[in-house]
């Protein structure tokens, strides 16, 4: 799915630049936002094909809340979400979630920061092709 539009929401501008550079080399169109509010506004305006979200932004569960809002919204509930975070939640002894069940992640893929460019690209490609297969692509 060449030229697909990808939204990156992260409060770390340096990390945004890294991910943006990797994605743009593969001809993806990248839109970025530095926080939850800006992210939601831009997602509504730009209607991206995929969103890459950070978990902890201004508040530590911003990414979770964003993904929950998006999955509830009929306009975006088919948009795949890739979550990138520096907080690991896969150990079963992972961080405490005050947002409810810690195993409940309303995202399609969960990757631990830092992520290798190859891994990121292959996950992005997989999510976008799944979206096309499911007939929800543009």
């Amino acid at each position: 799915m060449a030229n697909a539009k990808i939204m990156i929401v992260d409060d770390d501008p340096d990390y945004i630049d890294v991910v943006k550079t990797i994605l743009e080399r593969e001809q993806y169109t990248v839109v970025t936002a530095g926080n939850k509010i800006e992210g939601m506004e831009k997602i509504r305006a730009e209607k991206p094909d995929l969103a890459i979200l950070d978990v902890m932004m201004n508040a530590w569960q911003d990414g979770f809340e964003m993904s929950r809002q998006l999955k509830k919204d009929p306009q975006f509930n088919n948009m795949p979400i890739l979550m990138l975070t520096a907080v690991d939640n896969r150990t079963g002894i992972g961080f405490k979630s005050t947002a409810g069940d810690p195993t409940w992640l309303p995202v399609d893929v969960f990757l631990d920061k830092p992520v290798e460019p190859d891994v990121l690209l292959s996950e992005v490609k997989k999510l976008l092709s799944n979206k096309v297969e499911n007939g929800t692509g543009i």
């Binding site: 770390d12 340096d14 990390y15 890294v18 991910v19 550079t21 990797i22 080399r25 902890m56 530590w60 520096a86 907080v87 690991d88 896969r90 150990t91 079963g92 002894i93 992972g94 961080f95 405490k96 810690p102 195993t103 920061k113 830092p114 992520v115 290798e116 460019p117």
Partner: protein, 449 residues
């Protein structure tokens, strides 16, 4: 200890009072029977048995009333429960006085059983209420003695126990009543003194407990924030360097590239170290562990598959010997798999090329025994006790492999012990190492510990 609300605590004590009363009723019945049948003491049996029955009916009523309150749970105010207890104790005092009236009045030594009511009142009620109950007891009993003395009500002499009726003996009644009244007030004073102090200590403990819980939460959030901040800075540094190293952005001369490479490698190491350290801290802080019953065979196999390439790189023979009958265990599958993978990786790391690493599992009595053995460099005998300590690395291990956090075995031990298991080590330097792990067999339903 979870703090229990005052009204629930009082309700529980009100039930305790009912239980005590059942015991008292049985004792009253037995005492009447024994006194009149075996000790040949003259008693008003019919009246006394009737009072005992009345007491039982009254106790049943209070029980039903309390059950009604219990159903409302937290909605019941502790003032209401306190009132019930107050009424119960006053009624008990009245009934005891009536019992005494029909069994010799002041001649009956059971008169000192009023003291028990005073102790109960001091435990359950406020100091003020306890003194009021004491005054009530003294007045009610005093009235009984006075009315019997003035012959306004009949006196049932305790013949067979006292040589002659004493209810008109001034010295006896004044003396006994004086001792009775002082004993009642002294009992309230002493019991309240202890009870108030105990209540104060209990309240202080409860407040400390609440404070501790909130501090714990602040600490957890602090660690989580620090975890995120350290890791995200490192992730960004590593990713930026990775852009250069992986030539995602333009080429660089050999010399600058070499230094960027070194910085990249060191950042990866630091990231891994921080991740491991923070994981251990998080595990310690977090008291929740998702538990499931799962087959151990699959977990061992997954761990073997995860490390196979590393073993092949060093031409190490990797054996997996799991008994077909090995049972399921209850625990967190992800963590247990991580323990096996880490121990296997450790074994591969410290085993020279063409060596052998074996993982085996068999059933024990009430546990499953897992054994991970290698033909590696071993651990010096004098260092065996320290291998599970945080940051500890064997002296020969440091020479053999420069890198290593010294945290892998601490994490393994922590996870195994959190599962109610044991881990220990057997090693001979230059020959090999054997780790033993026992994990309880799984029979419990999925749960969270």
């Amino acid at each position: 200890m979870e703090p229990v609300s005052e009204n629930i605590r009082l309700l529980k004590r009100a039930y305790w009072l009912i239980k005590l009363r059942w015991i008292a009723i049985v004792c009253v019945g037995a005492a009447i029977y024994v006194s009149s049948n075996f000790l040949e003491i003259e008693l008003q049996d019919a009246a006394l048995y009737s009072i005992a029955i009345l007491l039982a009916l009254y106790n049943l009523t209070v029980l039903l009333l309390l059950n009604h309150f219990t159903k409302r749970g937290n909605e019941v105010s502790h003032v209401a429960v306190k009132k019930i207890i107050n009424v119960q104790i006053s009624t008990d005092l009245l009934i005891l006085t009536v019992l005494l009236h029909f069994s010799g009045g002041i001649e009956n030594p059971f008169v000192f059983y009023f003291i028990f009511h005073m102790i109960i009142a001091s435990i359950l009620l406020s100091v003020w209420d306890s003194y009021l109950q004491a005054t009530f007891a003294v007045l009610v009993f005093g009235l009984l003695v006075l009315l019997e003395y003035l012959q306004l009500i009949p006196h049932y002499c305790l013949r067979g126990f006292v040589p002659n009726c004493l209810h008109r003996n001034k010295l006896y009644i004044l003396g006994t009543f004086f001792v009775f009244a002082t004993a009642i007030y002294l009992a309230v004073y002493m019991a309240s003194y202890i009870s108030v102090r105990l209540k104060r200590t209990e309240r202080a403990y409860m407040q400390a407990n609440i404070l501790l819980q909130s501090k714990d939460q602040i600490k957890d959030e602090y660690v989580l924030r620090v975890t995120h901040d350290i890791k995200s800075h490192l992730a960004t540094i590593q990713s930026c360097l990775g852009m250069v190293v992986n030539k995602v952005v333009g080429p660089l001369d050999d010399k600058p590239m070499e230094f960027i490479n070194r910085a990249h490698v060191r950042t990866i190491k630091l990231t891994n170290f921080v991740k491991t350290l923070l994981k251990l801290t998080q595990m310690r802080l977090n008291d929740k562990l998702e538990i499931d019953v799962f087959p151990l065979r699959d977990t061992v196999r997954n761990a073997v598959v995860a490390v196979r390439t590393k073993a092949e790189d060093k031409s190490i023979t990797l054996n997996c010997d799991v008994e077909p009958s090995v049972d399921t265990i209850s625990g967190n599958q992800f963590s247990i798999e991580e323990v096996f993978t880490n121990l296997l990786l450790n074994a591969i790391r410290y085993t020279p090329e063409k060596g052998t690493v074996t993982i085996g599992a068999k059933n024990g009595m009430d546990c499953v025994v897992i054994e991970i053995a290698d033909t590696g460099i071993g651990i010096p005998a004098d260092e065996l006790d320290d291998v599970f300590d945080e940051f500890f690395r064997g002296s020969n291990a440091r020479k053999f492999q420069k890198d290593g956090t010294g945290l892998g075995l601490s994490i393994a031990k922590y996870i195994v012990e959190r599962h109610g298991g044991k881990i220990w080590i057997d090693s001979i330097e230059d020959t090999g190492t054997k780790f033993w792990i026992t994990l309880p067999k799984g029979s419990r339903q999925s749960q969270t510990t």
